[in-house]
Amino acid sequence: MKKLINDPVDVVAESVAGFGAAHADIVRVVADPLHVVRRDAPVAGKVALVSGGGSGHEPLHAGYVGHGMLDAAVPGAVFTSPTPDRILAAMQAVDAGAGVLLIVKNYTGDVLNFETAAELAAAQGIDVRTVVTDDDVAVTDSLYTAGRRGTGGTVLVERIAGAAAERGDDLDAVASIAAAVNADARSMGVALTPCTVPHSGEPSFALAEDEMEFGIGIHGEPGRETLPMEAADRIVDRLLDVILPDLPFASGDRVLLMTDGMGGTPLAELYIAHRRASERLAEEGIEVVRSLVGDHVTALEMQGCALTVLRLDDERIELWDAPVQTASLRWRR
């Protein structure tokens, strides 16, 4: 294992400290208990959005803290949910009295820790709503699993709900927009290589040179099956074959198409995938009106990609296009 790190124990703290130094115009980093808040928090009268989860998925979530998106992000250890005391501290730091919306990816650890934090915050008089994202279509049998996982759609929920909060919507309205975006987003990913958690030093799973793991979550953890490696276009078609009928997306729909890297995929390859995904959606009569390509939800240095398709309407387009100023998404501001 070769990594640009010091002591594995310090990976998250040192990385977040560097993030704070790089983006001091946007965020403030609190070292203990570790959380990242937007520089001008709490924003008077505004519903606050708080998200978080294990580290290793950068830029998720700290990269999305700022005007028009999150008010706070709570990074846990690598691939490990943050603890409730950190989440509570972040909620207290950003609550301006208009309430806090928690955006939680559907992973057992995240759900349990955020649930505990929400109970503690409610006991202190903070008005809390929670939206659990579960846009991943790879998991079919939700009855016998922990359910569909929160993946790329989480970024879209954070952006659109963040814009709604910035516009002045109240807590219930922001929560309802977040839940509706999650409900209309579908994602699926594929891993070409495993990744290595710094403190473990071992690859997280085994994958032969001629194999790919199809239907992964954001840690590369297995979803559907291990398949023989194929050409990019075929892989993209396989992903869309599952994504499109699931909502289902239909001819005439306007969508946002996100082609997400896993941390180790060259941008050029992501554009190859995005090209085929766009073609395929056009063939189906689905109009891609907004696109997002790059590393947005990653799994350390893993190679692979994930596609997210979100159904848009006029309001969502307006919210998507509204000013945003975060480390990783920034326009019109």
Partner: protein, 218 residues
């Protein structure tokens, strides 16, 4: 003989030792069907609990020690194990409230409360291939031992043995909760790391009781 707060603090120390000694084993089990962080996370939590023991006053009750473990694990472990074990010790502390000495039925009440807390928080059922599959047989074995008139040492010995067997028995199961559930059939053939760590913790509880009994010469 009954046990007191010395048993509770000794349980914490022995748990910390056991988790540290088996950190790599737990990580290996978790890598097979999860994300490989269970050993590291639990070790971080128990090292913090060990450090926090120093702040426990001389007049601390077993409930105080259990509460200290609960809050320390909740704020240091993360993942799913933090809230699950944290809730377990929170409920266990509640069951021990007001008692300076714990008899066999008190120990059964503590274990039952811990198990119920885990079920409440994680919503797993027996057979889902989770730590519940170690806790449930442990509670049943402890209840049976207490009903048969065993002392605390034997009650905890029964619980530890049943938890160890329960952990082994998770091997053929297909996971239905937690990260491993995404593997479906591919989760069969691997022992659940949470059930394994439960067995380690309950073995530490039994050893602490055995040691207390020997020190008192009974």
């Amino acid at each position: 003989m009954d046990v007191d707060s010395n048993w509770a603090t000794d349980w914490v120390r022995r748990s910390a030792d056991a988790v540290a000694a088996h950190k790599a084993d737990l990580a290996a089990l978790d890598r097979a069907i999860g994300d490989g962080d269970h050993g590291e996370n639990l070790d971080r939590g128990y090292r913090a609990a060990l450090a926090a023991l120093d702040g426990l006053g001389d007049d601390a009750t077993p409930a105080d020690a259990l509460m200290l473990v609960a809050t320390t694990l909740i704020s240091n472990v993360g993942g799913a194990a933090g809230p699950l074990y944290g809730t377990a010790f929170l409920k266990a502390s509640g069951a021990a409230q007001g008692l300076d000495e714990l008899g066999p039925s008190d120990v059964v009440a503590i274990l039952t409360a811990a198990r119920d807390g885990i079920v409440l928080r994680g919503k797993a059922e027996p057979g889902d291939k989770t730590m519940v599959d170690a806790w449930t047989p442990a509670v049943e074995a402890a209840s049976a031992a207490a009903a048969a008139g065993s002392d605390v040492r034997a009650v905890l010995e029964a619980a530890a043995g049943a938890a160890e067997r329960g952990a082994v028995d998770t091997e053929p199961l297909v996971a239905r909760k937690g990260r491993a559930s995404y593997l479906g059939e591919r989760s069969a053939g691997h022992r659940d790391p949470g059930a394994e760590s439960t067995a380690l913790l309950l073995r530490a509880a039994a050893e602490a009781a055995a040691d207390a009994a020997e020190r008192r010469g009974s």
